[in-house]
Amino acid sequence: MKELADFAVGYAGELGAEYAEARFQNDLKNMYLLVNGKPEVGRFVRSSGIGIRVLIDGGMSFLSINKPDKELLKKRVKEAVKIARSSVKTMKKPIRLSPEKTSKKEWEAKAKIPFKDVSLKEKVGLLFDIDNAVSSPREVGIKIASRYFYFLEYEIEKYFLNSEGTEVSSFLPKIMFYGLLTASEPQKGTEQDRIGKGESRGWEAVKEWDLVNHAAEKAKTLGRILKTAKEAPKGRLDIVLGSEVVGLMMHESAGHPYEADRIMGREAAQAGESFITRDMIGQKIGPETVTVVDDPTVEHSFGYYLYDDEGVPARRRYLIEGGVINEFLHNRETAFEMGVKSNGAARAEFFDREPIVRMASTFMLPGDHTFEELIEDVKQGVFMNTFGEWNIDDRRYNMRFIGRECYLIEKGNLRSMVRRPILEITTPGFFGSIDALDKNLKYEGAICGKSDPAQGAPVWHGGPNVRVKDVKLGGVE
């Protein structure tokens, strides 16, 4: 199939394409699932094929093929050229790509413990160990009525080339764990919490996650919420947001709205647009202490890569620097449109998906407070360590987080747990209310969905614990 990728780029050029690229991608994915202590149907994916993009007269076409059929490939490339030309009649100005240096590179993330070296017995056995750890009400103090755990291991091999001479080959192992626990207590109802882990390395990551103890702690916390949490306060107060909450806020409110394709309206139909406009570069959005980056090069991160799916080298992107809107996430199309260079944010999930603008690891840089210092200055407030429900509108302006593990703060001290405080706030309202950050940077692994057909991109998001002043907790009666 790699030979067909080479052929496709050359053939598109013969047909007059001003730019062509091909990406051979071979994916292996294994999923092991345990539901309520019982193994569910194991799930395995073996995916292999080529995705090709052709730019001609300013019109862009994408095609994919997974059978080694040269004649079909020629037919489809011809059609792609024809339909791209046909689409130009709708366009006010042609699509162009930012000029970038060509690269010839091979890179990989090495697994210390490759997945194939770990027996299935050990992988599934660990799921049973986790399940056992949360199943005993005597040990964790609560009945965990539903338990849902899975591992998803990936191996992704890519070979990219384009008509400008770039050739990049890569190999990337990834591992993900997801857990959903539902605790129930008579007369108190239920509480659910999830565990999301993901890294770009081998089974050694799982060994470091300490999932058995982590899951047991989650279960115990759910029990304490159900048994001891009081009604959450409403009205104006100070809130300390835990790293888990801050991390997802960075993804939703600083990552997505800075995606240049959203800003340009290319994703308006589904994912949506952005309250950020291209002329907002340089505008202040938060205090000087706030810097938010997106960085694909963080070692072991779930969204790790060194070259993006347009063959552009990856680098750290400073989305907000010192409280000022600094740069957007770009692929080559949006970069040309905005007169800048691509910062290597083009990602495609499978061989049959076009590369689009995506995040990798989005996080707020830590500050200089200790956690205790964040708390001790609060007279009346809430510490929202984790969240349950969340969402944000498609312009990434109006967000909502409902707390899961939360505590009342009184006169600088953490007091009783409170149940489900609701923070509903605008993105500028949130950044404008940030008062202090602590030193403790933590990350979570997740899958980010975007576009149509939807593409799930493995990402990290993270941040320190953050204090926001004078915000209002609410909700409908």
Partner: protein
């Protein structure tokens, strides 16, 4: 290999390598998509894919695999891997033999339209028609997708099930904006070109966007509401999806231990029907080879059944409802809906608004997230049209409200339905239901919240 040969090869090889039972679905498909934004085509796409999927059982251990590398060598290697895995994985507690064939499958009318399979660059004209129609109706700019699929599938099982499915689908979704915030949406879909109307979808999107101009901020509170067909597609995908016996068993559902109970108002009836003419999700057989049909999920507000495949049916000591579906990356083998049908009421759309008299009209919902699946507490983003209903008419647009309620509360508070159901294939479907046929639904006392800073 063609699909017939491939599915037979998968079954033969699986058995030869030691499987007790195996079912294979081989699909050859071509998909074409046009994406557009700011009234311009941003990219055109064509996918040619051969996909082989198997469910393999050995010693009561059950595994599935999806393969897009469908060379004989690769298939053989994957099957060998699966067989090796069955030796170390534990048996499925609810193991049940695959359905015993042969079966006779009912032919679904109009499931394949040759005109769709040969559209090629003519599809650009549909996109232009939708954009122009939206612009004429008040849109400043429009974005969306046109997706056309042409597929041939062959199912073969080691228990004598054998089925062929040839199917086309066409789906256009257009979202129009009259300014940065004022938006509307239009959707048209089906399996046959006669059911496809891009101009009408554009007109709806553009008209709603124009109506949404100069919206005023909404106020937190509870309102009587009319949910549009697009909004209902999202809500009833959740209701039907949460009735997958898999999700009920996994605790990801608010319908646990509710069979036979009143879960909705008397007016609500909900079906899953894989045989609907023109249904985007229609199929003569499920992925275990069972002949499909119509399943009553809710009738007169009472929960009648969950959706089942063979494994969940065994667990719940009932029969499969023929909802076994092929798996997706983040899902395993499980029952899911095909076409969800919300039973129509007796009102015209106008009469429904008159009956509500004063309240809100919600046109679209996305980004639904649950605080607690078991309880059903959720919130969702409202977009593409939110209007006041005053004296039975849509009046001024509203912005900034979030739907914040509970799925069971919403079902129980449904007050009336309009009489014309329309098929919606929505981008945001939490449970991947291919299509929901729904009228307007009114409900009382529904919660809405706002940002506080």
């Amino acid at each position: 290999m063609e699909t017939d040969e491939m599915s037979q090869f998968l079954v033969n090889e699986g058995l030869r390598l030691g499987a007790d039972e195996i079912i294979a679905v081989a699909t050859n498909k071509t998909l074409r998509q046009i994406r557009f934004g700011n009234n311009e085509i941003t990219i055109t796409k064509t996918w040619d894919e051969v996909v082989a999927e198997v469910l393999l059982e050995k010693d009561k251990t059950v595994l599935t695999a999806t393969m897009t590398d469908t060379s004989r060598g690769s298939i053989r290697e994957t099957l060998r891997d699966l067989i090796a895995m069955t030796k170390v994985m534990k048996p499925h507690e609810d193991y049940s033999p695959l359905p015993e064939g042969p079966f006779r499958y009912r032919e679904i009318p109009r499931l394949y339209d040759k005109r769709i399979s040969t559209l090629e660059e003519k599809s650009v004209d549909y996109v232009i028609a939708a954009i122009n129609s939206a612009t004429e109706s008040g849109a400043n700019r429009s974005a969306g997708t046109l997706l056309v699929e042409d597929s041939v599938s062959k199912l073969t099982s080691s228990r004598n099930a054998e089925g062929n499915r040839k199917k086309t689908t066409i789906n256009l979704s257009i979202r129009s904006l009259a300014d940065g915030e004022s938006s509307g949406v239009g959707i048209t879909c089906g399996t046959n070109l006669d059911d496809f109307n891009p101009e009408k979808a554009g007109e709806e999107a553009g008209g709603l966007a124009k109506m949404s101009l100069r919206a005023e901020s909404g106020k937190l509170g509870r309102y009587n509401v009319v949910f549009s067909r697009v909004a209902n597609a999202v809500l009833f995908d959740i209701v039907a999806g949460m009735n997958s016996a898999f999700y009920v068993g996994a605790g990801i559902s608010c319908f646990i231990e509710k069979l036979g109970e009143k879960v909705a108002s008397d007016r609500i009836a909900l079906y899953d029907d894989a045989q609907v003419t023109g249904g985007v999700g229609s199929t003569p057989f499920d992925d275990e080879g069972n002949p499909t049909g119509r399943t009553t999920i809710i009738e007169n507000g009472v929960l009648k059944t969950h959706l089942h495949n063979s494994l969940t049916a065994k667990k719940y000591k009932t029969k499969s409802t023929a909802n076994a579906t092929r798996t997706r990356l983040y899902r395993t083998w499980m029952p899911l809906p095909w076409n969800v049908l919300v039973k129509e009421g007796e009102h015209s759309d106008e009469e429904l608004l008159e009956e509500v008299k004063n309240g809100l009209f919600v046109n679209n919902i996305t980004y639904v997230r649950f605080q607690d699946y078991r309880k059903g507490d959720f919130s969702g983003i409202i977009r593409d049209g939110l209007f006041k209903i005053e004296n039975g008419e849509l009046t001024s647009p509203v912005k900034g409200l979030r739907l914040s309620d509970n799925i069971l509360h919403l079902l129980q508070n449904a007050t009336a339905l309009s009489k014309d159901a329309v098929q919606i294939n929505h981008w945001w479907m939490e449970f991947d239901t291919p299509s929901v046929w729904t009228p307007l639904v009114s409900a009382r006392n529904i919660g809405f919240t706002v940002a506080t800073k």
